[in-house]
Protein backbone atom coordinates (compact mmCIF):
# COMPACT_ATOMS: atom_id res chain seq x y z
CA UNK A 1 0.00 0.00 0.00
CA UNK A 2 1.26 3.47 -0.83
CA UNK A 3 1.14 6.32 1.62
CA UNK A 4 2.11 8.93 -0.95
CA UNK A 5 1.17 8.96 -4.61
CA UNK A 6 2.03 11.74 -6.99
CA UNK A 7 0.96 11.51 -10.57
CA UNK A 8 1.69 13.70 -13.56
CA UNK A 9 3.13 16.58 -11.55
CA UNK A 10 4.04 19.56 -13.68
CA UNK A 11 5.36 22.92 -12.56
CA UNK A 12 6.62 25.77 -14.71
CA UNK A 13 8.51 28.85 -13.62
CA UNK A 14 8.09 31.25 -16.51
CA UNK A 15 9.47 29.36 -19.47
CA UNK A 16 11.32 26.79 -17.40
CA UNK A 17 9.68 23.40 -17.00
CA UNK A 18 10.88 22.55 -13.50
CA UNK A 19 8.67 19.45 -13.41
CA UNK A 20 7.27 17.76 -16.45
CA UNK A 21 4.96 14.89 -15.58
CA UNK A 22 6.52 13.37 -12.48
CA UNK A 23 5.02 10.17 -11.04
CA UNK A 24 6.14 9.06 -7.61
CA UNK A 25 5.00 6.49 -5.06
CA UNK A 26 6.17 5.93 -1.51
CA UNK A 27 4.93 2.85 0.34
CA UNK A 28 3.96 2.80 4.02
CA UNK A 29 7.18 2.60 6.04
CA UNK A 30 9.30 2.61 2.91
CA UNK A 31 12.64 4.39 2.53
CA UNK A 32 12.95 5.95 -0.90
CA UNK A 33 15.87 7.96 -2.24
CA UNK A 34 15.68 10.62 -4.90
CA UNK A 35 18.80 11.47 -6.88
CA UNK A 36 19.61 13.45 -9.96
CA UNK A 37 21.93 16.21 -11.17
CA UNK A 38 21.59 19.74 -9.80
CA UNK A 39 18.55 21.52 -11.15
CA UNK A 40 16.76 18.32 -12.10
CA UNK A 41 13.69 19.23 -10.02
CA UNK A 42 14.11 17.18 -6.84
CA UNK A 43 13.53 20.01 -4.40
CA UNK A 44 10.65 21.27 -6.54
CA UNK A 45 8.99 17.89 -6.04
CA UNK A 46 9.36 18.37 -2.28
CA UNK A 47 7.96 21.89 -2.50
CA UNK A 48 4.96 20.69 -4.48
CA UNK A 49 4.27 17.78 -2.11
CA UNK A 50 4.47 20.01 0.97
CA UNK A 51 2.30 22.75 -0.51
CA UNK A 52 4.89 25.51 -0.89
CA UNK A 53 4.11 25.40 -4.61
CA UNK A 54 0.83 24.46 -6.18
CA UNK A 55 1.36 22.10 -9.14
CA UNK A 56 0.29 23.38 -12.57
CA UNK A 57 -0.92 19.87 -13.41
CA UNK A 58 -1.10 16.56 -11.61
CA UNK A 59 -2.23 15.45 -8.17
CA UNK A 60 -0.69 14.35 -4.91
CA UNK A 61 -2.54 12.06 -2.53
CA UNK A 62 -1.58 11.12 1.01
CA UNK A 63 -3.15 7.93 2.31
CA UNK A 64 -5.70 8.14 -0.50
CA UNK A 65 -6.69 11.73 0.31
CA UNK A 66 -5.92 14.41 -2.23
CA UNK A 67 -3.57 17.02 -0.77
CA UNK A 68 -2.39 18.99 -3.79
CA UNK A 69 -3.77 22.53 -3.58
CA UNK A 70 -4.09 22.46 0.20
CA UNK A 71 -2.14 25.07 2.19
CA UNK A 72 1.20 24.11 3.70
CA UNK A 73 0.01 23.85 7.28
CA UNK A 74 -2.91 21.54 6.40
CA UNK A 75 -0.56 19.20 4.59
CA UNK A 76 1.75 19.22 7.57
CA UNK A 77 -1.11 18.33 9.89
CA UNK A 78 -2.17 15.47 7.63
CA UNK A 79 1.20 13.88 8.28
CA UNK A 80 4.04 15.16 6.10
CA UNK A 81 7.07 16.80 7.71
CA UNK A 82 10.22 17.96 6.02
CA UNK A 83 13.67 19.44 6.39
CA UNK A 84 15.24 21.96 4.04
CA UNK A 85 18.33 21.84 1.88
CA UNK A 86 19.56 25.16 3.27
CA UNK A 87 18.71 24.63 6.95
CA UNK A 88 15.69 26.71 7.94
CA UNK A 89 15.62 26.75 11.72
CA UNK A 90 13.99 29.44 13.85
CA UNK A 91 17.41 30.96 14.33
CA UNK A 92 16.73 33.23 17.28
CA UNK A 93 14.83 30.60 19.24
CA UNK A 94 16.47 28.08 21.53
CA UNK A 95 16.82 24.46 20.42
CA UNK A 96 14.03 23.64 22.86
CA UNK A 97 11.72 26.29 21.45
CA UNK A 98 12.39 25.18 17.88
CA UNK A 99 10.97 21.79 18.76
CA UNK A 100 8.22 23.22 20.96
CA UNK A 101 7.07 25.56 18.18
CA UNK A 102 6.52 22.52 15.96
CA UNK A 103 4.39 20.96 18.73
CA UNK A 104 2.00 23.88 18.44
CA UNK A 105 -0.54 22.30 16.04
CA UNK A 106 -1.39 19.76 18.76
CA UNK A 107 -1.60 22.27 21.61
CA UNK A 108 -4.32 21.38 24.11
CA UNK A 109 -5.08 24.77 25.64
CA UNK A 110 -6.53 27.94 24.14
CA UNK A 111 -5.05 31.44 24.05
CA UNK A 112 -7.35 32.68 26.84
CA UNK A 113 -6.14 29.81 28.97
CA UNK A 114 -2.55 30.88 28.21
CA UNK A 115 -3.14 34.50 29.23
CA UNK A 116 -4.92 33.43 32.44
CA UNK A 117 -2.36 30.71 33.18
CA UNK A 118 -5.08 28.15 33.91
CA UNK A 119 -4.49 24.56 35.07
CA UNK A 120 -5.02 23.41 31.49
CA UNK A 121 -2.18 25.67 30.37
CA UNK A 122 0.28 24.21 32.84
CA UNK A 123 -0.72 20.64 32.00
CA UNK A 124 -0.44 21.34 28.28
CA UNK A 125 2.95 23.04 28.64
CA UNK A 126 4.26 20.14 30.74
CA UNK A 127 3.23 17.73 28.02
CA UNK A 128 4.85 19.81 25.27
CA UNK A 129 8.02 20.20 27.33
CA UNK A 130 8.30 16.45 27.93
CA UNK A 131 7.75 15.64 24.29
CA UNK A 132 10.34 18.21 23.21
CA UNK A 133 12.86 16.93 25.76
CA UNK A 134 12.35 13.35 24.53
CA UNK A 135 13.05 14.42 20.96
CA UNK A 136 16.08 16.50 21.93
CA UNK A 137 17.50 13.59 23.94
CA UNK A 138 16.98 11.24 21.03
CA UNK A 139 19.19 13.56 18.99
CA UNK A 140 21.68 14.06 21.88
CA UNK A 141 20.77 17.74 21.95
CA UNK A 142 19.43 17.81 25.51
CA UNK A 143 22.43 19.74 26.83
CA UNK A 144 22.04 22.29 24.08
CA UNK A 145 18.36 22.94 24.74
CA UNK A 146 18.79 26.55 25.86
CA UNK A 147 21.27 27.51 23.13
CA UNK A 148 19.95 29.62 20.30
CA UNK A 149 19.63 27.61 17.11
CA UNK A 150 21.92 29.97 15.23
CA UNK A 151 24.72 29.31 17.73
CA UNK A 152 24.67 25.53 17.30
CA UNK A 153 27.36 23.79 15.28
CA UNK A 154 26.35 22.81 11.76
CA UNK A 155 25.80 19.11 12.50
CA UNK A 156 23.61 19.92 15.49
CA UNK A 157 21.55 22.30 13.36
CA UNK A 158 20.92 19.53 10.83
CA UNK A 159 19.81 17.17 13.59
CA UNK A 160 17.70 19.80 15.29
CA UNK A 161 15.85 20.34 12.05
CA UNK A 162 14.99 16.63 11.90
CA UNK A 163 13.91 16.73 15.55
CA UNK A 164 11.63 19.66 14.76
CA UNK A 165 10.17 17.78 11.80
CA UNK A 166 9.40 14.77 14.01
CA UNK A 167 7.65 16.99 16.57
CA UNK A 168 4.71 17.39 14.22
CA UNK A 169 4.21 13.58 14.34
CA UNK A 170 4.47 12.80 10.63
CA UNK A 171 3.78 9.55 8.78
CA UNK A 172 6.03 10.63 5.95
CA UNK A 173 9.32 12.46 6.45
CA UNK A 174 10.96 14.33 3.58
CA UNK A 175 14.69 14.96 4.02
CA UNK A 176 16.32 17.37 1.60
CA UNK A 177 20.04 16.56 1.47
CA UNK A 178 20.39 15.55 5.12
CA UNK A 179 24.07 14.63 4.69
CA UNK A 180 25.13 17.85 2.96
CA UNK A 181 28.37 19.09 4.43
CA UNK A 182 28.94 16.02 6.61
CA UNK A 183 32.15 13.99 6.74
CA UNK A 184 32.33 10.21 6.29
CA UNK A 185 31.92 9.39 9.99
CA UNK A 186 28.96 11.72 10.35
CA UNK A 187 27.31 10.26 7.26
CA UNK A 188 27.71 6.78 8.76
CA UNK A 189 26.01 7.91 11.96
CA UNK A 190 23.27 9.66 10.03
CA UNK A 191 22.51 6.48 8.09
CA UNK A 192 22.06 4.48 11.28
CA UNK A 193 20.03 7.28 12.68
CA UNK A 194 17.60 7.50 9.77
CA UNK A 195 17.01 3.74 9.99
CA UNK A 196 16.45 4.02 13.74
CA UNK A 197 13.89 6.84 13.65
CA UNK A 198 12.09 5.16 10.80
CA UNK A 199 11.53 2.05 12.91
CA UNK A 200 10.78 3.91 16.09
CA UNK A 201 8.23 6.29 14.61
CA UNK A 202 6.97 3.92 11.88
CA UNK A 203 7.82 6.49 9.25
CA UNK A 204 8.02 6.41 5.52
CA UNK A 205 11.04 8.45 4.41
CA UNK A 206 11.69 10.14 1.10
CA UNK A 207 15.12 11.69 0.87
CA UNK A 208 17.10 13.73 -1.61
CA UNK A 209 20.82 13.12 -1.41
CA UNK A 210 23.97 13.44 -3.44
CA UNK A 211 26.11 11.20 -1.25
CA UNK A 212 25.78 7.88 -3.03
CA UNK A 213 27.05 5.93 -0.05
CA UNK A 214 24.00 7.01 1.92
CA UNK A 215 21.49 6.57 -0.88
CA UNK A 216 22.81 3.18 -1.99
CA UNK A 217 23.37 2.10 1.61
CA UNK A 218 19.93 2.56 3.15
CA UNK A 219 17.32 3.27 0.47
CA UNK A 220 15.10 0.40 -0.56
CA UNK A 221 14.11 2.07 -3.77
CA UNK A 222 15.60 4.93 -5.75
CA UNK A 223 14.03 7.42 -8.12
CA UNK A 224 16.31 9.24 -10.54
CA UNK A 225 15.36 12.61 -11.96
CA UNK A 226 16.76 14.66 -14.80
CA UNK A 227 15.32 17.78 -16.47
CA UNK A 228 12.10 17.63 -14.47
CA UNK A 229 11.32 14.03 -15.35
CA UNK A 230 11.80 10.68 -13.70
CA UNK A 231 14.31 8.86 -15.89
CA UNK A 232 14.72 5.69 -13.87
CA UNK A 233 13.42 3.92 -10.80
CA UNK A 234 14.35 0.70 -9.07
CA UNK A 235 16.50 -0.89 -6.37
CA UNK A 236 19.98 0.49 -5.71
CA UNK A 237 21.48 -2.40 -7.68
CA UNK A 238 19.30 -1.71 -10.73
CA UNK A 239 19.98 2.01 -10.62
CA UNK A 240 23.74 1.59 -10.39
CA UNK A 241 23.80 -0.24 -13.69
CA UNK A 242 21.16 1.74 -15.54
CA UNK A 243 22.71 3.30 -18.66
CA UNK A 244 20.30 6.29 -18.57
CA UNK A 245 21.44 7.15 -15.06
CA UNK A 246 25.08 6.91 -15.97
CA UNK A 247 24.39 9.14 -18.94
CA UNK A 248 22.60 11.74 -16.83
CA UNK A 249 25.50 11.92 -14.41
CA UNK A 250 28.51 11.39 -16.62
CA UNK A 251 27.33 12.29 -20.11
CA UNK A 252 26.96 10.11 -23.19
CA UNK A 253 29.77 7.83 -24.17
CA UNK A 254 31.18 9.06 -27.42
CA UNK A 255 31.43 6.09 -29.82
CA UNK A 256 33.89 7.59 -32.23
CA UNK A 257 36.26 8.59 -29.48
CA UNK A 258 35.92 12.35 -29.86
Amino acid sequence: MNILEASGLAKNFGGIKALNGVDLQVGVGELVGMIGPNGSGKTTVFNVITGIYRPDRGTVTLGGKRISGLPQHSISRLGIARTFQNIRLFRNLSAMDNVRAACHPNVRYGPISAVCRSEGFHAGEREIREKAMDLLSLFSLQDRRDDLARNLPYGDQRRLEIARALASEPDLLLLDEPAAGMNATEVGKLMEFILEIRTRYKLAVLLIEHQMRLVMGICERIVVMDFGEVIARGTPREIRNDPRVIEAYLGKDSKDGK
Binding site: G51, H73, R88, A101, P105, V115, R117, E119, H122
Partner: protein
Protein backbone atom coordinates in the same frame (compact mmCIF):
# COMPACT_ATOMS: atom_id res chain seq x y z
CA UNK B 1 -6.42 29.03 42.40
CA UNK B 2 -2.77 28.98 41.38
CA UNK B 3 -3.67 31.17 38.43
CA UNK B 4 -5.30 33.74 40.74
CA UNK B 5 -2.27 33.74 43.01
CA UNK B 6 0.03 34.36 40.06
CA UNK B 7 -2.21 37.18 38.91
CA UNK B 8 -2.24 38.74 42.37
CA UNK B 9 1.51 38.46 42.74
CA UNK B 10 2.13 40.11 39.41
CA UNK B 11 -0.40 42.90 39.86
CA UNK B 12 0.38 43.69 43.51
CA UNK B 13 3.27 46.11 42.82
CA UNK B 14 1.20 47.85 40.15
CA UNK B 15 -1.76 48.16 42.51
CA UNK B 16 0.56 49.58 45.18
CA UNK B 17 2.04 52.03 42.70
CA UNK B 18 -1.43 53.02 41.56
CA UNK B 19 -2.53 53.66 45.16
CA UNK B 20 0.64 55.57 46.02
CA UNK B 21 0.40 57.64 42.85
CA UNK B 22 -3.24 58.48 43.49
CA UNK B 23 -2.55 59.55 47.08
CA UNK B 24 0.53 61.60 46.15
CA UNK B 25 -1.13 63.38 43.28
CA UNK B 26 -4.37 64.13 45.11
CA UNK B 27 -2.38 65.41 48.10
CA UNK B 28 -0.60 67.75 45.74
CA UNK B 29 2.79 66.37 46.75
CA UNK B 30 3.93 66.13 43.14
CA UNK B 31 3.61 68.51 40.26
CA UNK B 32 0.39 67.77 38.31
CA UNK B 33 2.21 68.35 35.06
CA UNK B 34 4.61 65.50 35.77
CA UNK B 35 1.77 63.28 36.98
CA UNK B 36 0.17 63.76 33.60
CA UNK B 37 3.42 62.99 31.81
CA UNK B 38 3.78 59.84 33.89
CA UNK B 39 0.34 58.71 32.81
CA UNK B 40 1.16 59.47 29.19
CA UNK B 41 4.26 57.29 29.52
CA UNK B 42 2.17 54.39 30.89
CA UNK B 43 -0.33 54.78 28.04
CA UNK B 44 2.43 54.97 25.44
CA UNK B 45 3.95 51.81 26.88
CA UNK B 46 0.63 49.96 26.49
CA UNK B 47 0.40 51.01 22.85
CA UNK B 48 4.07 50.20 22.21
CA UNK B 49 3.65 46.76 23.78
CA UNK B 50 0.94 46.18 21.21
CA UNK B 51 3.26 47.17 18.37
CA UNK B 52 5.92 44.93 19.84
CA UNK B 53 3.51 41.98 19.60
CA UNK B 54 2.90 42.92 15.96
CA UNK B 55 6.41 43.84 14.81
CA UNK B 56 8.76 42.51 17.48
CA UNK B 57 7.21 39.09 18.03
CA UNK B 58 5.22 38.33 14.88
CA UNK B 59 7.53 40.23 12.53
CA UNK B 60 4.83 42.28 10.79
CA UNK B 61 6.15 45.68 9.79
CA UNK B 62 3.28 48.04 10.59
CA UNK B 63 3.45 51.78 10.01
CA UNK B 64 -0.17 52.43 10.91
CA UNK B 65 -0.20 51.89 14.65
CA UNK B 66 -1.37 55.41 15.49
CA UNK B 67 -4.48 54.88 13.38
CA UNK B 68 -5.59 52.05 15.67
CA UNK B 69 -4.66 54.15 18.70
CA UNK B 70 -6.92 56.84 17.22
CA UNK B 71 -9.80 54.46 16.58
CA UNK B 72 -9.69 53.40 20.23
CA UNK B 73 -9.43 57.03 21.35
CA UNK B 74 -12.35 58.34 19.30
CA UNK B 75 -14.43 55.21 19.95
CA UNK B 76 -14.08 55.33 23.73
CA UNK B 77 -14.44 59.10 23.85
CA UNK B 78 -17.62 59.02 21.81
CA UNK B 79 -19.15 56.42 24.11
CA UNK B 80 -18.26 58.36 27.26
CA UNK B 81 -19.30 61.71 25.86
CA UNK B 82 -22.68 60.57 24.64
CA UNK B 83 -23.79 58.17 27.36
CA UNK B 84 -21.09 57.60 29.96
CA UNK B 85 -21.44 60.50 32.33
CA UNK B 86 -18.86 60.10 35.08
CA UNK B 87 -19.29 56.37 35.68
CA UNK B 88 -15.99 54.54 36.31
CA UNK B 89 -17.55 51.20 35.30
CA UNK B 90 -18.80 52.65 32.05
CA UNK B 91 -15.34 54.14 31.49
CA UNK B 92 -13.77 50.69 31.79
CA UNK B 93 -16.35 49.30 29.37
CA UNK B 94 -15.68 52.16 26.94
CA UNK B 95 -11.95 51.50 26.99
CA UNK B 96 -12.49 47.85 26.21
CA UNK B 97 -15.01 48.76 23.53
CA UNK B 98 -12.47 51.15 21.99
CA UNK B 99 -9.92 48.32 22.02
CA UNK B 100 -12.44 45.95 20.46
CA UNK B 101 -13.25 48.52 17.78
CA UNK B 102 -9.57 48.88 16.91
CA UNK B 103 -9.24 45.08 16.90
CA UNK B 104 -12.21 44.68 14.57
CA UNK B 105 -10.82 47.21 12.11
CA UNK B 106 -7.40 45.52 12.39
CA UNK B 107 -9.03 42.22 11.51
CA UNK B 108 -10.59 43.71 8.37
CA UNK B 109 -7.37 45.47 7.37
CA UNK B 110 -5.34 42.36 8.13
CA UNK B 111 -7.56 40.12 6.02
CA UNK B 112 -6.66 42.11 2.95
CA UNK B 113 -3.08 43.19 3.67
CA UNK B 114 -1.41 40.38 5.60
CA UNK B 115 -0.71 38.39 2.44
CA UNK B 116 1.96 41.03 1.93
CA UNK B 117 5.34 40.70 3.55
CA UNK B 118 7.91 43.04 5.08
CA UNK B 119 8.25 46.42 3.31
CA UNK B 120 5.11 45.90 1.24
CA UNK B 121 3.05 45.43 4.39
CA UNK B 122 4.66 48.57 5.78
CA UNK B 123 3.48 50.57 2.77
CA UNK B 124 -0.04 49.11 2.98
CA UNK B 125 -0.40 49.93 6.69
CA UNK B 126 1.09 53.37 6.04
CA UNK B 127 -1.66 53.90 3.49
CA UNK B 128 -4.28 52.79 5.97
CA UNK B 129 -2.89 55.23 8.54
CA UNK B 130 -3.20 58.11 6.07
CA UNK B 131 -6.76 57.12 5.22
CA UNK B 132 -7.70 57.09 8.90
CA UNK B 133 -6.13 60.52 9.40
CA UNK B 134 -8.41 61.84 6.64
CA UNK B 135 -11.37 60.09 8.25
CA UNK B 136 -10.60 61.71 11.62
CA UNK B 137 -10.18 65.10 9.92
CA UNK B 138 -13.63 64.82 8.38
CA UNK B 139 -15.36 62.83 11.08
CA UNK B 140 -17.68 65.73 11.94
CA UNK B 141 -19.35 65.26 8.57
CA UNK B 142 -21.03 62.08 9.78
CA UNK B 143 -20.82 62.48 13.58
CA UNK B 144 -20.66 66.13 14.72
CA UNK B 145 -19.61 65.04 18.24
CA UNK B 146 -16.23 63.84 16.87
CA UNK B 147 -15.25 67.38 15.99
CA UNK B 148 -13.28 66.62 12.82
CA UNK B 149 -10.37 68.93 12.09
CA UNK B 150 -11.39 71.32 14.87
CA UNK B 151 -10.77 68.59 17.42
CA UNK B 152 -13.05 66.74 19.80
CA UNK B 153 -13.95 68.44 23.06
CA UNK B 154 -16.23 67.66 25.98
CA UNK B 155 -14.58 64.34 26.82
CA UNK B 156 -14.76 63.65 30.57
CA UNK B 157 -11.35 63.57 32.27
CA UNK B 158 -11.52 60.02 33.55
CA UNK B 159 -7.98 58.70 33.23
CA UNK B 160 -6.05 58.88 36.49
CA UNK B 161 -2.79 57.47 37.76
CA UNK B 162 -4.62 54.34 38.95
CA UNK B 163 -6.18 53.54 35.59
CA UNK B 164 -2.92 54.19 33.71
CA UNK B 165 -0.79 52.06 36.02
CA UNK B 166 -3.29 49.21 36.28
CA UNK B 167 -3.72 49.01 32.52
CA UNK B 168 0.05 49.02 32.09
CA UNK B 169 0.32 46.14 34.57
CA UNK B 170 -2.47 44.18 32.93
CA UNK B 171 -0.96 44.69 29.47
CA UNK B 172 2.47 43.55 30.61
CA UNK B 173 0.93 40.49 32.24
CA UNK B 174 -1.17 39.62 29.19
CA UNK B 175 1.74 40.15 26.80
CA UNK B 176 4.12 38.11 28.93
CA UNK B 177 1.71 35.21 29.35
CA UNK B 178 0.85 35.18 25.69
CA UNK B 179 4.44 35.38 24.49
CA UNK B 180 5.56 32.58 26.82
CA UNK B 181 3.02 30.10 25.58
CA UNK B 182 2.62 27.84 22.59
CA UNK B 183 0.75 30.67 20.85
CA UNK B 184 3.63 33.06 21.42
CA UNK B 185 6.09 30.51 20.06
CA UNK B 186 3.93 30.14 16.96
CA UNK B 187 4.08 33.92 16.41
CA UNK B 188 7.84 34.06 16.87
CA UNK B 189 8.31 31.04 14.59
CA UNK B 190 6.49 32.97 11.85
CA UNK B 191 8.77 35.96 12.39
CA UNK B 192 11.84 33.74 12.19
CA UNK B 193 10.90 31.78 9.07
CA UNK B 194 7.42 31.78 7.64
CA UNK B 195 8.00 28.85 5.26
CA UNK B 196 9.46 26.67 7.99
CA UNK B 197 6.61 27.64 10.34
CA UNK B 198 4.09 26.57 7.71
CA UNK B 199 5.95 23.31 7.19
CA UNK B 200 5.72 22.73 10.95
CA UNK B 201 1.94 22.91 10.73
CA UNK B 202 1.42 26.50 11.89
CA UNK B 203 -1.38 28.28 10.02
CA UNK B 204 0.77 31.32 9.28
CA UNK B 205 -1.92 33.59 7.87
CA UNK B 206 -4.29 32.97 10.76
CA UNK B 207 -1.64 33.64 13.37
CA UNK B 208 -0.31 36.73 11.64
CA UNK B 209 -3.87 38.03 11.66
CA UNK B 210 -4.26 37.09 15.32
CA UNK B 211 -0.99 38.81 16.29
CA UNK B 212 -2.00 41.93 14.40
CA UNK B 213 -5.46 42.03 15.98
CA UNK B 214 -4.14 41.53 19.52
CA UNK B 215 -1.50 44.23 19.05
CA UNK B 216 -4.10 46.68 17.73
CA UNK B 217 -6.39 45.89 20.66
CA UNK B 218 -3.61 47.13 22.96
CA UNK B 219 -3.34 50.27 20.83
CA UNK B 220 -7.09 50.84 21.00
CA UNK B 221 -7.24 50.56 24.77
CA UNK B 222 -4.25 52.90 25.10
CA UNK B 223 -5.99 55.36 22.78
CA UNK B 224 -9.06 55.37 25.03
CA UNK B 225 -6.91 56.14 28.07
CA UNK B 226 -5.21 58.92 26.14
CA UNK B 227 -8.52 60.49 25.14
CA UNK B 228 -9.65 60.72 28.75
CA UNK B 229 -6.31 62.02 29.99
CA UNK B 230 -6.28 65.29 28.06
CA UNK B 231 -10.05 65.47 27.42
CA UNK B 232 -9.27 66.71 23.93
CA UNK B 233 -8.58 64.83 20.70
CA UNK B 234 -7.14 66.19 17.51
CA UNK B 235 -6.50 64.24 14.27
CA UNK B 236 -2.87 65.40 14.27
CA UNK B 237 -2.30 63.22 17.35
CA UNK B 238 -2.90 60.15 15.20
CA UNK B 239 -0.97 60.89 12.04
CA UNK B 240 1.91 59.00 10.46
CA UNK B 241 4.52 60.62 12.70
CA UNK B 242 2.81 59.26 15.79
CA UNK B 243 3.08 55.78 14.28
CA UNK B 244 6.78 56.39 13.81
CA UNK B 245 7.13 57.45 17.46
CA UNK B 246 5.82 54.10 18.66
CA UNK B 247 7.88 52.25 16.09
CA UNK B 248 10.97 54.06 17.34
CA UNK B 249 10.21 53.10 20.93
CA UNK B 250 9.83 49.43 19.97
CA UNK B 251 13.03 49.33 17.93
CA UNK B 252 14.95 51.32 20.53
CA UNK B 253 13.83 49.00 23.31
CA UNK B 254 14.61 45.92 21.25
CA UNK B 255 12.35 43.95 18.93
CA UNK B 256 10.62 41.19 20.82
CA UNK B 257 11.73 42.56 24.17
CA UNK B 258 9.05 43.76 26.60
CA UNK B 259 11.41 45.24 29.18
CA UNK B 260 12.99 47.36 26.47
CA UNK B 261 9.62 48.63 25.29
CA UNK B 262 8.69 49.57 28.84
CA UNK B 263 11.92 51.45 29.51
CA UNK B 264 12.03 53.08 26.08
CA UNK B 265 8.44 54.33 26.43
CA UNK B 266 9.18 56.05 29.72
CA UNK B 267 12.56 57.25 28.48
CA UNK B 268 11.09 58.69 25.30
CA UNK B 269 8.20 60.54 26.95
CA UNK B 270 10.22 61.89 29.86
CA UNK B 271 13.12 62.92 27.65
CA UNK B 272 10.75 64.78 25.35
CA UNK B 273 9.13 66.64 28.23
CA UNK B 274 12.24 66.86 30.38
CA UNK B 275 14.13 68.69 27.64
CA UNK B 276 11.23 71.10 27.35
CA UNK B 277 11.92 72.10 30.95
CA UNK B 278 15.70 71.76 30.87
CA UNK B 279 16.34 73.79 27.72
CA UNK B 280 16.05 77.59 27.78
CA UNK B 281 12.73 78.64 26.16
CA UNK B 282 14.38 80.04 23.02
CA UNK B 283 16.19 76.79 22.36
CA UNK B 284 13.33 74.35 22.84
CA UNK B 285 13.44 73.27 19.22
CA UNK B 286 16.95 71.97 19.88
CA UNK B 287 15.10 68.92 21.17
CA UNK B 288 14.78 67.83 17.55
CA UNK B 289 18.52 67.96 17.17
CA UNK B 290 19.43 66.30 20.44
CA UNK B 291 16.91 63.46 20.25
CA UNK B 292 17.81 62.30 16.73
CA UNK B 293 21.50 62.40 17.65
CA UNK B 294 20.70 60.26 20.67
CA UNK B 295 18.75 57.84 18.48
CA UNK B 296 21.59 57.50 16.01
CA UNK B 297 24.13 56.92 18.76
CA UNK B 298 21.91 54.37 20.52
CA UNK B 299 21.34 52.42 17.34
CA UNK B 300 25.05 52.43 16.53
CA UNK B 301 25.96 51.27 20.02
CA UNK B 302 23.04 48.90 20.64
CA UNK B 303 21.59 47.77 17.31
CA UNK B 304 19.77 44.93 19.10
CA UNK B 305 17.93 47.46 21.28
CA UNK B 306 18.52 48.64 24.82
CA UNK B 307 17.93 45.24 26.35
CA UNK B 308 18.84 42.75 23.64
CA UNK B 309 17.23 39.49 24.71
CA UNK B 310 17.37 40.04 28.47
CA UNK B 311 14.08 40.67 30.24
CA UNK B 312 13.26 41.98 33.70
CA UNK B 313 12.65 39.07 36.05
CA UNK B 314 8.91 39.73 36.27
CA UNK B 315 8.63 39.57 32.48
CA UNK B 316 10.37 36.21 32.10
CA UNK B 317 8.60 32.93 31.60
CA UNK B 318 6.85 32.13 34.87
CA UNK B 319 5.61 28.70 33.85
CA UNK B 320 8.92 26.90 34.28
Amino acid sequence: MKALLGLARFMAPFAAAAAAGTVLSSAGAVNMYWVQIFQLACITAVSALGLNVIYGFTGLFSLGHAAFYGIGAYGAALLMKTCGGESQAFFLASLLAGGAGAALVAWLVGLSTLRLTSDYLGIATLGFGIIMKVVFDNADAFLPQLGGARGMTGIPKMTGVAWAVLFLGASLLAARNLVHSSYGRALVAIREDEVAAGAAGIDTFRYKLAGFVVGCFFAGVAGGLYAHLYAFLHPSNFDFFKSVDVLMIVVLGGLGNMSGTLVASFGWIFLLEGLRVALPPDYIELRWVLIPVLLVVTMLRRPQGLFGIREFRFLRDASE
